[in-house]
Symmetry: C2
Subunit: 393 residues, 2 copies
């Protein structure tokens, strides 16, 4: 379980497959984001229809609403959201550090205000791990301290050290839970008692590398993460958080030769189509981003010729599909003219149809990249893709 | 074409089938309402999945946005909305008379303000017929003058006379269009030229009976409508517009023995589950109503045990489906607890899942009524159904 098989490489780009309790995922892979246990506007049947193989949900959001105990009583996260394929839960670190309002960090964890009712809450590495164990995703993420894109070396060092120390605590707690042992923490006893019958290979824990845009911190952080254990995968966090794009690619370039090739690499929160292509060139395997659904709800659609704003008057009488190369329900059923009508008339179906297409677009993009890597001409494919995609910019 | 075959009766209740250019419809039938060429939150694939056989769209709304010429350029209403089964368009009469704002009625037609931009618009029987011909639904409705539920006899008489006079003009214009003749009206020449190649059996026109709650006006109106022509179906309008429910059933009772049994009867704007059952008892064949989608978006679901408000705290940890007897995607995939979570978390998927279920509920209800009529025990079925449905009230 949790085995990653590297099938082909082409430069730094890689394709492989990752076996998880709920199925196998081919990489590179794009994960749609289901923050509140639903990929906004899309049903699990929609997700299956567009070929999603791995979906992300958010620990923080599900902890504050409906609460992990409710999810557990309703059969765990897979059953709850009607998705029987692989799931990954983010740890809540990113959410806690990007929310507005009160926040106090100490070595033990973070105290913060719920975005729903302003109530004081506390997350620690142990709690974040327990919540994720209760939710039951295939992949859980370590609880991390995220700093903004422009953070100086002292701030980034501080957050890196805390993240590394928290990683050890997450891993220890995760091992206890997997072994069916109850915790030292009084508030979690009940949960772990209920969970002790679950098989130890139901969930894996991945570390998150921090270090801002400081290459020496990133390489040191990576070295120390790898010293801490035999991880089944590794995430690169704290990028795409406001830093200039070249800074992100410098970090990926510095890391790539140092990352174990036999482990999948997950670049968190990325991204747009052009970001996926560039990150795959830098050896990344997994991605997640709200862009396809958020942009879709705003009327912006990905196409091979660049983004299209479906609200534009030019689409009023356009009988063509949104993307002539696409096989999704939106593109095989409706004209641009009809989709524009739905947005202009503020019909909810429009939000869903563009979200559906955009997710399908990124999933097809990942499939095309896998094929180009297997065929050994990824660099040429990427150049051709970029030329066409940038044409309309 | 447009043939209605009466298959069985049980008391006044009837079951039959109506052949239309885009398919055959079994009656009694519930039509989901796609006001702006979309049944709110549902895709055509969803509608097919819940067994919809006939969908209603609104002439007024599509005329003001995107405009019938745009729909025509995009292939007509069926192609526009991706629905290749039967469609019916309401004439716009009901909308014009129920909108807020300026409205002036004369014998020629109605001048009114667009609800979108306040611009002055004019609808006449001829224009309403031309717009519907351009949209291309299987069934078009005559342009009528609707009065509120409490209208006195003088007001209702006035509107009835106008509706009858307009019906003659609608029928004349419809015949011209079907014969490929251009109109006398300058503003419609272009449209009719383009449409002259279309086969004359592409669309039928149904009259709408008005007369408020005044039985003598209703029976007189019906007699005069039947004298005017050989209609392929007949609609009863101006009910469910604010009058007490017993008043509606008195009208249906007075009309039933006078309605031609060989023609389908469409009760406009009805209704809730209990209204459908009662109207079928009074010999009605077709229904439309926004209730399943509007209530669904408000978190209210139809079940055999009466309506359920999914937001209620009692559903928080309820693993049961919304309706254990239902075969829809919502009921076969999700728990009440998850559906409640979607509504509490304001997730758009919730609006769709409850709309989907509610439409399926009314379509199954119609199918159950057809079966009970065929089996010859409709009265007993209706009594049993009512006992269960009212239990939780």
């Amino acid at each position: 379980m949790f085995e990653f098989t590297l099938e082909a490489t082409c430069g730094a780009a890689r394709t492989g497959s990752l076996t998880l309790p709920h199925g196998t995922v081919e990489t590179p892979v794009f994960m749609p984001v289901g923050t509140q246990a639903t990929v906004r506007t899309l049903s699990p049947a929609d997700l299956a229809a567009v070929g999603a193989s791995l979906v992300l949900a958010n620990t923080y959001h599900l902890h504050v609403r409906p609460g992990e105990q409710v999810v557990e009583k309703l059969g765990g996260l897979h059953r709850f959201m009607g998705w029987d394929r692989p799931l990954l839960t983010d740890s809540g670190g990113f959410q806690v550090f990007s929310l507005e309002g009160f926040r106090r960090v100490d070595e033990d964890g973070v105290e913060f205000q719920s975005h729903l009712d302003g109530s004081r809450r506390r997350l620690t590495p142990e709690r974040a791990t327990e919540i994720q164990w209760t939710l039951g995703a295939d992949i859980a993420m370590a609880f991390d301290h995220v700093v903004p894109g422009g953070a100086d070396a002292t701030t980034a060092r501080d957050a890196l050290e805390r993240t590394l120390s928290w990683l050890e605590r997450c891993a220890r707690r995760h091992r206890e839970l997997a072994d069916g042992r109850t915790a030292g923490r009084a508030d979690s006893t009940a949960v772990t008692d209920r969970l002790s019958a679950r098989p130890p290979d139901r969930q894996t824990l991945w570390p998150i590398l921090q270090g801002g845009t400081h290459l020496e911190l990133r390489t040191e952080g990576l070295r120390r993460i790898l010293e801490l254990g035999e991880w089944t995968g590794l995430a690169i966090g704290g990028l795409s958080v406001g830093e200039p794009k070249p800074a992100m690619y410098r970090v990926l370039e510095a890391l790539e030769p140092r990352l174990p090739s036999a482990r999948p690499r997950y670049l968190m929160g990325v991204g747009f189509p052009e970001d996926l292509v560039a990150a795959v060139e830098h050896g990344v395997d997994l991605f997640d981003c709200v862009a396809p659904t958020r942009n879709g709800r705003n009327g912006s659609a990905f196409t091979p010729d660049g983004p299209v704003n479906i609200r534009n008057a030019e689409h009023r009488e356009d009988p063509r599909p949104l993307d002539e190369t696409c096989d999704c329900e939106t593109c095989t059923t409706f004209s641009r003219g009809y989709l524009r009508h739905l947005f202009v008339a503020e019909e909810l179906l429009g939000l869903r149809l563009l979200s559906l297409h955009n997710v399908r677009f990124l999933i097809r993009l990942a499939a095309e990249m896998r094929a180009a890597i297997r065929a050994g001409h990824f660099a040429r494919w990427a150049a051709d893709w970029r030329r066409r995609y940038a044409r309309s910019d």
